[in-house]
Structure formats: structure tokens, C-alpha cells
């Protein structure tokens, strides 16, 4: 039995799936996409405008007014100021990276076990995993905080990372669904060839799953980049401050300092967008399996 894999990207797609590009459908497509994009961008336009206003103008004029003068003071102030913002970017980046790597690897293992291996208690465990998503974090946070406190891990790098690095039920769910959809024949073929599960996982299943794994990695990165409540509770002070907390710290009791906050939020989005762009090709590529026998 021979199966060949063919990777399709945007260009190749045209060949394999010849779609008659009707003009009407294209026009509709563009209309939908453009309108959606404008609706999405609207609020961001407001936030970017705010970040480019002087705080005086922000105080003296309605929030929807156009910046005049257009100024980058907020951005400069953030970087030069004593807000610990630069360090928070570094901390957030490293924490997110460690979590993404650990979580992806361990979730892949677990998902494969749930999807392709049979062992007693498998389904029960899967649903048990999933059910942990159903208890709101706002309550589980306190016992978790106490747990880490007792272990002496309060305000450390590991406190930010450990609860998440061993896998996440959400990731395991996503991957398991995907692994379930892979053709059994391919895997059976490898088994018959004498490959152990580990080998199958890393040499057959994972290469087939690059788009999903990349998507998952990006989702995990975004989720932890924007994580707020847990880092807020478990850390104190500048040393392990993450971006979200540093941004919230820009506000005072009586002044929202929105020009600064918007600038901080805009800066915080940029690395995530860069991540998307970097992984984009892998995420949108599709692998079609052609030909058996």
C-alpha cells in the first residue's frame, strides 16, 4: 500500500481544485470580506487614534475626535518612562514561549493517546479533562494560588508557567478531534510495518498535522500573551510583571490614562500579528492525501 502526500498551497490549489471563478461570486466574496474587515477595524481605528493624541487633547475633547496634533508622545513615554513596560514584554514573551512549547508537546501526546490508542478509562479521562474547562477560573484561582503559595512559588517565573505547561484540555480536545479525522489505513500501515506508537506519532501523525499544530501554537501564544488575572494574583512588583498587568498599572484611581493604555495595547498586539504572519503559510496549507493502493 502506498500513499502519497501532496502539499497544497495557494498556487497549487488552483490546479488541483479548478474552481470556475465566477465574477459574481468573487465580487460577493470581496464585499463580504471588506465589509467585515471595516467593521472589525472601526474600533481599532478609535483606539489607534487615541494612542496618537496628546493627553491634553484627550481630556479636552470627545473621545471620537481626530488627533490634532498627531503625536507619538504616548509611545515615547511608554518606552522611556518608568513603567517597566519593556521588561514586561520580555517576561511575557519568555513565559508564552515556554508555555507554548510545553503545552503543545504534551497535548500532542495526550491527544494521540485519546484518539488512537485504546486503554481502560480512556473516554472517562477525556471527558474528565474536558470538564475541567467548565469551572470558572475566578474560583479555581484561589485554591491554585494557595497551592503555589504553600510551595513557596509566589512571585516566581515558574508560578507563571507551571500550571499551564503540561498540556491544556482545550488543546487536547482540538488535537484529538483532528487526529480522529486522519485515515486509519495510513496508521495501520505503519503499525504493520512494526512501528511503535512514538514513532508513528512523530513521523506520521505530526507531519500530517502541521496546520493544526501551528494553529494551536498560535492560539496558545495569544491566550497566554493576554492572560491577566492569574499573573496579577501570583506576581507582585516589576520583576515578573506581564504586559497586561503593566498596562493596567498605567491607570490611576482617578485617571484612566487612556492615551497611554491604547499605546500599550497597540504595542502589545504587534508581536502577535508578527507571529501570525510568520506561521501563516503553515496554517493555511492543507495536506491532501492522494491515492491508496
Amino acid at each position: 500500500m502506498v500513499a502519497t502526500l501532496e502539499k497544497t498551497g495557494v498556487g497549487a490549489d488552483q490546479e488541483i481544485r479548478p474552481r470556475r471563478r465566477t465574477l459574481v461570486l468573487d465580487v460577493i466574496t470581496y464585499t463580504v470580506l471588506v465589509v467585515s474587515s471595516l467593521l472589525v477595524l472601526g474600533p481599532f481605528l478609535l483606539s489607534t487614534m487615541t494612542s496618537l493624541k496628546s493627553s491634553k487633547q484627550f481630556a479636552a475633547e470627545p473621545a471620537t475626535s481626530f488627533p490634532s496634533p498627531l503625536t507619538a508622545d504616548s509611545y515615547v513615554g511608554l518606552i522611556q518612562g518608568n513603567y517597566g513596560f519593556g521588561r514586561s514584554i520580555l517576561v511575557t514573551a519568555v513565559v508564552s514561549l515556554v508555555i507554548v512549547v510545553g503545552q503543545t508537546v504534551f497535548s500532542v501526546f495526550a491527544a494521540y493517546a485519546f484518539a488512537r490508542l485504546e486503554f481502560p478509562g480512556r473516554d472517562f479521562l477525556f471527558w474528565a479533562y474536558l470538564s475541567t474547562l467548565m469551572v470558572p477560573g475566578v474560583v479555581t484561582m484561589i485554591p491554585l494560588y494557595l497551592l503555589l503559595s504553600e510551595s513557596g512559588l509566589r512571585n516566581t517565573f515558574w508560578a507563571l508557567v507551571l500550571p499551564f505547561v503540561f498540556g491544556s484540555p482545550y488543546a487536547i480536545f482540538l488535537l484529538r478531534q483532528h487526529f480522529l479525522s486522519l485515515p486509519t489505513d495510513l496508521i495501520s500501515a505503519a503499525r504493520l510495518d512494526g512501528a511503535g506508537h512514538l514513532r508513528i506519532l512523530w513521523h506520521v501523525v505530526v507531519p500530517l498535522s502541521k496546520p493544526v499544530v501551528s494553529t494551536l501554537a498560535v492560539i496558545t501564544a495569544v491566550t497566554h500573551w493576554n492572560s491577566f488575572l492569574w499573573p496579577l494574583i501570583i506576581t507582585s512588583g516589576d520583576r515578573w510583571q506581564v504586559i497586561t498587568v503593566a498596562t493596567a498599572n498605567l491607570q490611576t484611581q482617578f485617571n484612566g490614562n487612556w492615551t497611554l493604555v491604547m499605546a500599550a495595547t497597540t504595542i502589545a498586539i504587534v508581536p502577535l500579528l508578527a507571529l501570525f504572519v510568520a506561521f501563516h503559510k503553515t496554517i493555511v496549507s492543507s495536506l491532501t492525501i492522494k491515492g491508496f493502493n
Partner: protein, 437 residues
């Protein structure tokens, strides 16, 4: 190739950061952690103060930790639940009672008995519970003032000095008369003129709203009413309070001299923003907005005492204390820092940057000097409390009732409620039930 380099860099960064992770909070024995809610100006002031402290006590450094204001109380509670938290942390009146009762706070009456007389008496009183003082007063509010837009006021030919308000006597209510002259619609008519269109107001006279600290509490107190008493809410049982609240509500919905509650209920900044945009003539607020107005207003403005009610000019006042964490592992150094921040020398930088008034009476002059140099007579704030303040003992468990009270008052201020007295009674009884439950 690229991949392995980026891997190396990442590994290096991770190891580097992890290596610097240390043991968590505190760190060295001689670092005292000091927590405030986020405020850059205040943090800078404290840094100055602590630099001097470390110069005099070279073996102790103080680390300032800022926590976002919006989440300060959640984090404090969580930290204290785990036996953590910083060595010294700010607390305010609505929040400190449960920590005092639970033994989380250092007893300042025992620690620094001689220093108590240096501090603002109203603050000391507010934070005294079961006979002991539970923190070192740091900042006070004084009373409230009326910020006013000089041009708008002079255009309307209104004199804001010696205004009086009275819920039961229209003749004596010179305050309302003035406000009507200051409220203008799009056709240029003021609120006391026939044909005034309340739906087309371009300039409001006043910022009446559901804002207890800035508006409602002051009306209640100036009318001789009570809001809380002996651990319960009593505002509905006290006719003076009911009248005061109704007066404030009517300013919005009947007299139309203040913006709609739809604008102000969920946005306490609205009125200040309107004032800064020149669309609000008189803005009643406290010292906490002085910096915002000073920096944001591009017109000439001034401050003047609040109008006198039937019982006089009695405001709400607030203050902040720095409490010592009784679970601190560093108590000796912490005590020294507490002593320092309660001293004139330690508090002076706080006043000198104009953020708020130091509670250490000897350090207050720096605050007044700062604002005098900007042409503002900031002595009006502490002067505002000379005639007394709203009696405001912290009600244990008041937090439990706050959301429902908030909703109830917002409903009342929206003007949708027919019988205000009844609605207040319902809200009060509901709140008292929640506190005890």
C-alpha cells in the same frame, strides 16, 4: 541554521530569566515591600522619600510595588488569604475594617503612639477601630469644592460665593437659581427662561449624578442627614437624607441643570470631561481631580467652597493609610519604614508633587506651596472639613451590599422611579439584610 540560532537565543533567554527568578517576594531580608495602587506620580514621590530613608538607613531598601487600582482589593484579599502580601500596603476606609478585625494589620497605636498627634485627626479617627489605630495615615482629601469655568460663570453673571441650597425652601435656594442661569440650550435660553428646551441643552450648570463621594454624600451631610449609623444603612429612615437625595435627583430630571444619568451612571469621568470641554459650568469634586483639571483645562478656572445646606457646608472626606502587614517576615525593618512615612520628613515629597494632601500635618505646606505656585489656593480643601464631615463609620460587610445599592441608586437617579422614598427604603432594607447575611 536560522532555527538553531533562534533556539539557542530562546534557551539562553529562558535560562537567564529563570536564573534571576530568586525566591519570590521579599528577596533580601532587608528589602521592605511597599504596595500602593497604580499612580505614577505618587510612586515617584515615594521613591524620593525612600531614597532619603535608605540614605539614613543604609541597610534597608524599600521596593515600591504598584497594583492596578481596578484590581487592588481582589489581589490584596487573595494575597492575605495565602499569608502573603507586601510588608506595607495602602488601604482605604471602605476596605480596611475586615482586615483590621482579622488581625492582618499592625497595631499602630501600640507601635507609634507618639506619632499619632502628628497626623490629621479626621484620618486618625476614621481608621480607629476597637480603640486602636490600624495604619499610618498617608493622604487625605480634605473636603469638596466647586471647580468652575470662569468665563461661563461671568457670562451668566452669577456669583458663586455664599450660595445656599435648601430642599424645602425655594426662596432660600440660591444655588439652584444660579445653576439655572448656567444651563443653556441650543437656542441660547437659560433654564430659568420660558421656552427652555431640556432636550437640547448645550451647556449644563452642574454635575449632579450618582457619585456619592463628590455629590450625594455632601448633600446628605449638608442637610444634616445620615447615610450609615452604628453598622447599618439608615438613609431611608432619615428624612433629611431622603430630602437631600431627592434634591440631587431633581437637579437632573426636573430642573435639568445636570446631565442625564444615562451619561453619568456608569461613567464617573463624564462630568469631568464635560467640564474640561467647556460644556459644564460648575463641577463639584475633590482634591483628587485637581491635577487632572489643572493639566487638562485650556480655559481659566477657579475653585470655591461648596454651597451651604441647611446644616452648613459639610462634605464627605476620604483618606488613605499605609498599613503594616502583621504576617510580614521583616517586621523590624517594616516598623522603621512605617515610622518614616508617618514623619514630616518622610511625607514631604508626597505633598510636594501635588497629588494629594499628606496626612502628616507638618508636611502639608509643601502641597499648598506646590499649588500656590500654580495660582490655586489649595487650602480650600482642608478648610472644607472645618465644620465637620459626613459621619461615615465603615460598615463591616458593606462590600456585600454595594452592588445592589449601586444598582438601586442608579435606577433612582435615572428618574424612572416614581416614589423615591419607597425605593430608598427598599434599597436600604435590602442592603442591611445583605450585610448581616
Amino acid at each position: 541554521m536560522k532555527r538553531s540560532i533562534s533556539t539557542l537565543v530562546t534557551v539562553g533567554l529562558t535560562l537567564g530569566l529563570a536564573a534571576c527568578s530568586g525566591t519570590g517576594d521579599g528577596g533580601d531580608d532587608n528589602t521592605v515591600t511597599f504596595r500602593i495602587w497604580s499612580d505614577d506620580a505618587v510612586a515617584a514621590a515615594y521613591e524620593q522619600s525612600f531614597a532619603e530613608f535608605t540614605a539614613q538607613n543604609p541597610d534597608i531598601t524599600v521596593q515600591i510595588n504598584q497594583v492596578p487600582w481596578a484590581n487592588y482589593w481582589d489581589k490584596l484579599r487573595a494575597d492575605l488569604s495565602g499569608g502573603g502580601g507586601d510588608d506595607i500596603f495602602w488601604v482605604n476606609a471602605p476596605n480596611y475594617a475586615s482586615y483590621a478585625d482579622n488581625g492582618n494589620l499592625v497595631n499602630i497605636s501600640e507601635l507609634l503612639p507618639d506619632a499619632v498627634s502628628d497626623w490629621e485627626p479626621s484620618a486618625v479617627e476614621k481608621y480607629t477601630r476597637d480603640g486602636s489605630l490600624w495604619g499610618v495615615p498617608q493622604l487625605i482629601d480634605g473636603g469638596k469644592v466647586l471647580y468652575y469655568n470662569k468665563k461661563l460663570v461671568s457670562d451668566a453673571e452669577v456669583d458663586l460665593a455664599d450660595l445656599t441650597w435648601d430642599p424645602s425652601n425655594e426662596q432660600a435656594d440660591t444655588f439652584l437659581q444660579a445653576l439655572k442661569k448656567l444651563t443653556v440650550d441650543s437656542a441660547g435660553r437659560t433654564a430659568d427662561q420660558p421656552g427652555f428646551d431640556p432636550g437640547a441643552v448645550t451647556q449644563y450648570g452642574f454635575n449632579a449624578a450618582w457619585d456619592f463621594d463628590a455629590i450625594v454624600g455632601n448633600f446628605i451631610a449638608s442637610n444634616g442627614g445620615l447615610y450609615q449609623d452604628s453598622g447599618k444603612y439608615v438613609f431611608a429612615d432619615d428624612p433629611a437624607s431622603v430630602d437631600a437625595i431627592e434634591y440631587a435627583v431633581d437637579l437632573i430630571n426636573d430642573d435639568h441643570v445636570a446631565p442625564s444619568s444615562a451619561d453619568t451612571n456608569d461613567n464617573l469621568d463624564f462630568s469631568r470631561d464635560q467640564f474640561l470641554q467647556g460644556k459644564l459650568a460648575v463641577f463639584e469634586s475633590g482634591a483628587y481631580n485637581l491635577a487632572n483639571i489643572s493639566e487638562g483645562a485650556d480655559f481659566e478656572w477657579g475653585i470655591t467652597p461648596i454651597p451651604a445646606g441647611p446644616s452648613g457646608r459639610i462634605p464627605v472626606t476620604n483618606s488613605i493609610i499605609a498599613a503594616g502587614n502583621s504576617a510580614s517576615e521583616n517586621s523590624e525593618a517594616t516598623q522603621k519604614v512605617l515610622d518614616w512615612i508617618g514623619s514630616e520628613e518622610g511625607s514631604e515629597p508626597l505633598g510636594a508633587n501635588g497629588a494629594l494632601i499628606p496626612a502628616v500635618t507638618g508636611a502639608q505646606q509643601s502641597y499648598f506651596d506646590f499649588w500656590a505656585s500654580k495660582g490655586v489656593d489649595a487650602t480650600l480643601f482642608p478648610a472644607g472639613v472645618q465644620n465637620g464631615v459626613l459621619k461615615n463609620d465603615p460598615v463591616p460587610g458593606a462590600q456585600a451590599a454595594s452592588a445592589d445599592l449601586d444598582s438601586a441608586f442608579k435606577e433612582i437617579f435615572s428618574g424612572r422611579v416614581g416614589d423615591i422614598q419607597e425605593a430608598l427604603k427598599e434599597a436600604q432594607d435590602n442592603a442591611n439584610e445583605q450585610i448581616s447575611g
